[in-house]
């Protein structure tokens, strides 16, 4: 065993670096002493997550850099009190501890192997490790000297040095107290020695190595056999990508889950603790170690490495396309053409007068007919049509997925959940409401990008979507799945754009209706493209008789209380006014920039006021038209009543309270009076439109049409993130197990998503971070689903199984109480049995019905065996005190490892 280094050898070497060496050792001692001082102060509360408190210092020696680590386990107070005085650190009952992924640190294997709670490791910084034999010797002698110098009666700490290649996890170490010295030695080989494969051989080795001059007392043996289940037969849990002939329903949800079973293996460990060596036999021909008779069972899982998490993967596709500047037309090639202004004559011929169920169908069919000649569409009609029906369920009266239904179901089913109201959690998201049009669009687009044809399918759906938007505008049909009203600045830009388009469509419809009424009422023709049309039917008053023809009142909405015009005494009418101007946030930003660029001096102020006074002028003109003979005082009384100051107890000639304008209205040449003078009496429907819905709608359509792939991704990513987190929450909710960490993890995710959606443009780094976290959760949820499916296929309510699933998914090893007699144990046995049966069938072995009834045969050959041997031995001389001896043997396919700790009396020898 090449790792054993003869201590006597190095004293004869010529240390030309002696002085440097001394400095090195002095430095180690210095660091350790400093740690001891710090320890007494006990003020280090660093990473509370880990059970390990790790201190590090860097140091140099012989052109090599080293880290010196102090590992101390955070032990709870009670356990610490149990310690009765100083004791050799290996003089314990430690054999196998339950594995916990979260407690693993780089050097914590030393604790796992030897049961140490506190130790110091010297480890090279470089990944090459220390392979040079003489270097190893120098280092080993260093730690021997240092440990010797630091001996105290109370708190000596074992000191290790890591040698050879780092992946080998090979250490040599020493522990010295004032009465005892323990050498830690290790062997690591790719393959074990044949005689060491069984306990019998290991016991021999152990005894030989102790080499006590006296008869040994009993050796205490612990053993652990590991069985690995990798074939789950019918209990594989995985999600497949959508295929060509997918199930319609799967389109409605974001892809979710992993494409391979997230559990690569289930590991059963059968353990025997602390048996005297004369009571157990384990040799090539016979073994007492039957897993069914083990003292303890425990379970552990291995996760699949980097599986494809479908939802995270779909999001990643969007991330990657954030740099793709090609346009939809670049991608679709001659399949699609930029829209031309002239209408396709086919539209008029085949369009049914009343929107019918088949409207969409006929339309898409028609389009593909005309285009087939050029090239094949990326998405076939059979795929595209269901997508369009999903996005535009109003095309089918009997649609099974109209907008605004899902929400109600959710709030009912989740009423008792941790997250009381999902939509409430997402209040701060600048996106759109759940299951609205854009929400669905983001889901469809991610399916396309991921599995239904990639970028071309993505482009095709977007193209069809934009075509539909144009169609709806042209045919004056409202767009479904949008919250009604003005563009809502709290939603994402894409949502605002569509709301804008919907408003334009509404106004167009209103205008068309008004036109019909107006025509029939007055039989006059108006140029509806140029002028604003009020939806009101214009009712002329009898009063017009009094007025000359050119001065007839028009555009009256209603009387304004009992107010009378100051000059004429006629009732004051509120005019019909133009509808407000609508803007989306990008347009507002442009406006703001214009205003800002004007600066802040007086002229700029004036100019800004003029820019913004278009609606004021329009209102004044409408007012004048509705109130012939009116004065600015009349207008102000309606428009800004606070600027009309009534005189106490004074009535004018018409019997109403007299008053005057406020001082700020009386300023000479103020913009209000100027404008009043220039305003002509023109009713709203005759005025130039302040908001040209035709132009604005065209702007929206152009905006949608000319988006590049990256711009589409920018528009969709906020909504996609929202939908993804929403989906994750639902998945967490529907799990049979509650994971205490879920709410915190999800809240964290929601916070990140909220920040992302509120940025003017989603930042790739932030989105990437979000995907990363979402994918970890997606994996965790999938693992838990997989475990439930495997361990509890009948899905019976079982609290025990729930707890086990949670622990396993968190990377912990869990004890199986009652072993094969428990529900879980029983399931494990039958899964192993099934896997065994399958593999022997595959190997063509005859299946012997009679002989295979016992549980015993259910288990395959163990994948690993581990033994721990302990005893106390008189060493080095017959009159020495008894000292603890320890050896651990790990035998697996990958490695053969012996970890020994040999002690001897340093007082009497």
């Amino acid at each position: 065993m090449n790792e054993e280094i003869d201590e006597s050898e190095f004293y004869h070497q010529d240390f030309t670096t002696a002085s440097e060496w001394e400095v090195f050792m002095a430095r180690i001692e210095e660091i350790i002493n400093q740690w001891r001082v710090d320890d007494k102060r006990n003020d280090s509360v660093t990473d509370v997550e880990s059970i390990w408190d790790i201190k590090t210092e860097k140091l140099n020696f012989a052109e090599e850099q080293f880290y010196l680590y102090l590992y101390s386990k955070r032990i709870n107070e009670d356990a610490a009190l149990d310690d009765k005085g100083p004791k050799n650190p290996i003089d314990t009952l430690h054999d196998f501890e339950l594995y916990d992924e979260n407690h693993i640190e780089y050097h914590s294997c030393l604790s796992t192997w030897y049961g140490l709670d506190k130790f110091i490791v010297l480890s090279p910084v470089s990944n090459n490790g220390i392979v040079n034999e003489s270097k190893i010797k120098v280092l080993l002698s260093s730690i021997y000297v240092v440990e010797g110098n630091l001996v105290t009666s109370e708190n000596s700490i074992p000191l290790f040095v890591q040698i050879r290649e780092k992946w080998q996890r090979l250490y040599l170490g020493v522990f010295a107290s004032d009465v005892i010295r323990t050498n830690f030695e290790m062997v690591h080989l790719k393959k074990g020695l044949p005689y060491c494969n069984y306990l019998s051989g290991l016991l021999d080795l152990f005894k030989t190595k102790i080499a006590s001059p006296c008869v040994l007392e009993n050796i205490i043996v612990s053993a652990q056999l590991t069985y690995t289940l990798t074939e789950f037969g019918g209990f594989v849990w995985k999600q497949d990508l959508l295929q060509q002939n997918y199930d319609i329903e799967s389109l409605f949800l974001l892809p979710f889950g992993v494409t391979v079973d997230p559990i690569s293996s289930i590991i059963l460990k059968a353990t025997w603790n602390h048996l005297p060596d004369n009571l157990v036999l384990d040799s090539e021909n016979y073994t007492d170690f039957d897993p069914t008779a083990a003292m303890n069972w425990s379970l552990l899982i291995n996760s699949t490495n980097n599986p494809v998490c479908l939802m995270a993967d779909a999001m990643t596709e969007f991330l990657q396309n954030l740099t793709n500047t090609s346009t939809i037309y670049d991608i679709l090639g001659d399949f699609a053409t930029l829209p031309s202004s002239e209408n396709n004559p086919l539209d008029l011929l085949t369009e049914p007068a009343v929107p019918a169920i088949s409207r969409l169908l006929t339309r898409t069919a028609r389009q593909s007919l005309t285009r087939n000649k050029r090239s094949n569409p990326p998405l076939s009609e059979t795929m595209l049509v269901p997508m369009l029906y999903f996005l535009f369920p109003d095309a089918d009266e009997k649609s099974s997925f109209p907008y605004g239904r899902e929400e109600r179901e959710h709030t009912e089913s989740l009423s008792q959940a941790q997250f009381k109201n999902l939509d409430e959690e997402f209040k701060g998201f600048k996106t759109c409401s759940s299951d609205s049009l854009i929400w669905r669009l983001s889901i469809i687009l991610s399916h396309c990008l991921q599995s239904l044809g990639g970028l071309r399918a993505f482009a095709h759906v977007w193209y069809e979507f934009v075509q539909e938007m144009r169609y709806r505008w042209e045919k004056s049909m409202p767009i479904p799945g949008l919250s009604p009203g003005l563009p809502d600045l709290r939603t994402c830009l894409l949502n605002q754009k569509l709301q804008m388009l919907n408003c334009c469509i509404d106004r167009k419809i209103a205008r068309e209706n008004a036109l019909v009424n107006f025509d029939s009422a007055e039989n006059s023709s108006t140029d509806d493209e140029e002028f604003f049309d009020c939806s009101e039917k214009i009712v002329e008053e009898k009063a017009k008789e009094k007025l000359s023809l050119w001065n007839q009142p028009v555009g009256r909405l209603s009387k304004f209380g009992n107010l009378k015009l100051i000059k004429t005494g006629d009732p004051l009418y509120i005019p019909v006014t133009q509808e407000p101007v609508l803007k989306t946030e990008d347009q507002l930003e442009e406006d703001t920039d214009v205003l800002l660029q004007l600066g802040s001096n007086a002229e700029a102020m004036e100019l800004r006021a003029r820019i913004m006074s278009a609606s004021l002028l329009s209102d004044m003109e409408s007012f004048k038209a509705a109130n012939p003979g009116s004065a600015i005082e009349d207008f102000i009384r309606w428009y800004s009543p606070r600027d009309w100051i009534e005189d106490e107890d004074k009535l004018d000639e018409w019997g109403q309270k007299a008053g005057h304008l406020s001082p700020r209205m009386l300023i000479e040449d103020n913009i209000w009076s100027e404008m009043w003078l220039s305003a002509k009496p023109v009713p709203a429907h005759r005025q130039k439109r302040l908001f040209d819905d035709t132009r604005e709608a065209e702007k929206v359509l152009q905006f949608l049409d000319l988006r590049s792939v990256s711009q589409i991704c920018e528009l969709v990513i906020p909504v996609l993130s929202h939908a993804a987190i929403y989906r994750l929450m639902e998945e967490c909710e529907s799990l049979a197990s509650d994971l205490a960490e879920f709410p915190a993890k999800l809240s964290n995710l929601i916070r990140k998503g909220e920040v992302l959606t509120r940025e003017s443009k989603p930042q790739p780094r932030r989105f990437e971070g979000l995907i990363h976290e979402a994918s970890a959760l997606e994996m965790l949820v999938s693992q838990m689903n997989s475990l439930h499916y495997k361990l509890n296929p009948s899905r019976s309510a079982n609290g025990e199984i729930n707890d086990v699933v949670v622990a396993l998914a968190m990377g912990k090893e869990v004890r199986v109480e009652n072993k094969s007699k428990s529900d879980i144990g029983n399931r494990i046995v039958s899964m192993f049995g099934e896997a065994q049966r399958m593999s022997s069938l595959m190997a063509g072995e005859q299946f012997d019905e009679a002989g295979r009834g016992t549980v015993n045969n259910a288990f395959p050959v163990p994948t690993a065996k581990e033994f721990v041997l302990r005893t106390n031995a008189v060493k080095p001389a017959v009159y020495s005190a008894k000292c603890p001896q320890f050896m651990r043997a790990i035998l697996s396919k990958e490695e053969f490892r012996l970890c020994g700790a040999w002690s001897e009396d340093t007082v009497f020898f």
Binding site: G428, R490, V581, L588, R608, A609, S615, L616, M665
Partner: protein, 204 residues
């Protein structure tokens, strides 16, 4: 000089027509009172640099029209504001009663979650007062806003109001630094930062 600017803040002034929003702004930016201030049309803005604890902060203050007819236009300018001054006229109860509506408007259209709000009772120089300080302070407390009384005419409280508001914004780094990851607080819309709860009254 420009390099020393710590940050640029967007501040809004809202409230009923005629309560003195434009006058407050004029007083603050030009230390002037113009009784012949015209009724604001749409929005207007002024800039001013303010020295807060040794660092220079640039303010872009947006003055909005209180007039109902312009109300469809003005909320668009609420975007990205870090602070809002809600003004009422202490000599007109009606303008105070409307504050609730203005707060709602702000909640609806402001894009920052923890926008700092300040209620300013203006025109304290006027003799016939209709809104008591106690009542106004109760309102401020209930809505977790700052409160200060001022007069654009006599200059009282104006400088203090703006400074106090900017101070509070600077203490809420979320508002003026670019969003730091993990740094925004969920639901702070409903539960504003405790720190901004204190009602503040300058005794003028």
């Amino acid at each position: 000089m420009d390099e020393d600017i710590l940050t640029t803040l967007k501040i809004l002034i809202i409230g009923e027509s005629g309560v003195g929003k434009s006058s407050l702004l004029l007083r603050f930016t030009e230390d002037n009172f113009d009784p012949e201030q015209t009724l604001t049309i749409g929005v207007d803005f002024k800039t001013k640099k303010l020295n807060i604890d040794g660092s220079l902060v640039k303010l872009a203050i947006w003055d909005t029209a209180g007039q109902e007819r312009f109300r469809t236009l003005t909320p668009s300018y609420y975007r990205d504001a870090q602070g809002a001054i809600l003004v009422f006229d202490v000599s007109s109860y009606a303008t105070f009663a409307k504050l609730e509506m203005w707060l709602n408007e702000l909640e609806t259209y402001s894009t920052k979650n923890d926008i700092v709000k300040m209620v300013v009772g203006n025109k304290i120089d006027v003799d016939k007062r209709e809104v008591s300080r106690e009542e106004a302070m109760r309102f401020a407390k209930r809505h977790h806003t700052l409160y200060i009384e001022a007069s654009a005419k006599t200059k009282d409280g104006v400088q203090a109001a703006f400074e106090e508001l900017v101070h509070k914004i600077i203490q809420t780094p979320n508002l003026w630094e670019s969003y730091a990851l993990n740094n925004i607080h969920l639901g702070s819309k409903d539960h504003p930062n405790q720190s901004s709860c204190a009602g503040y009254c300058s005794l003028v």
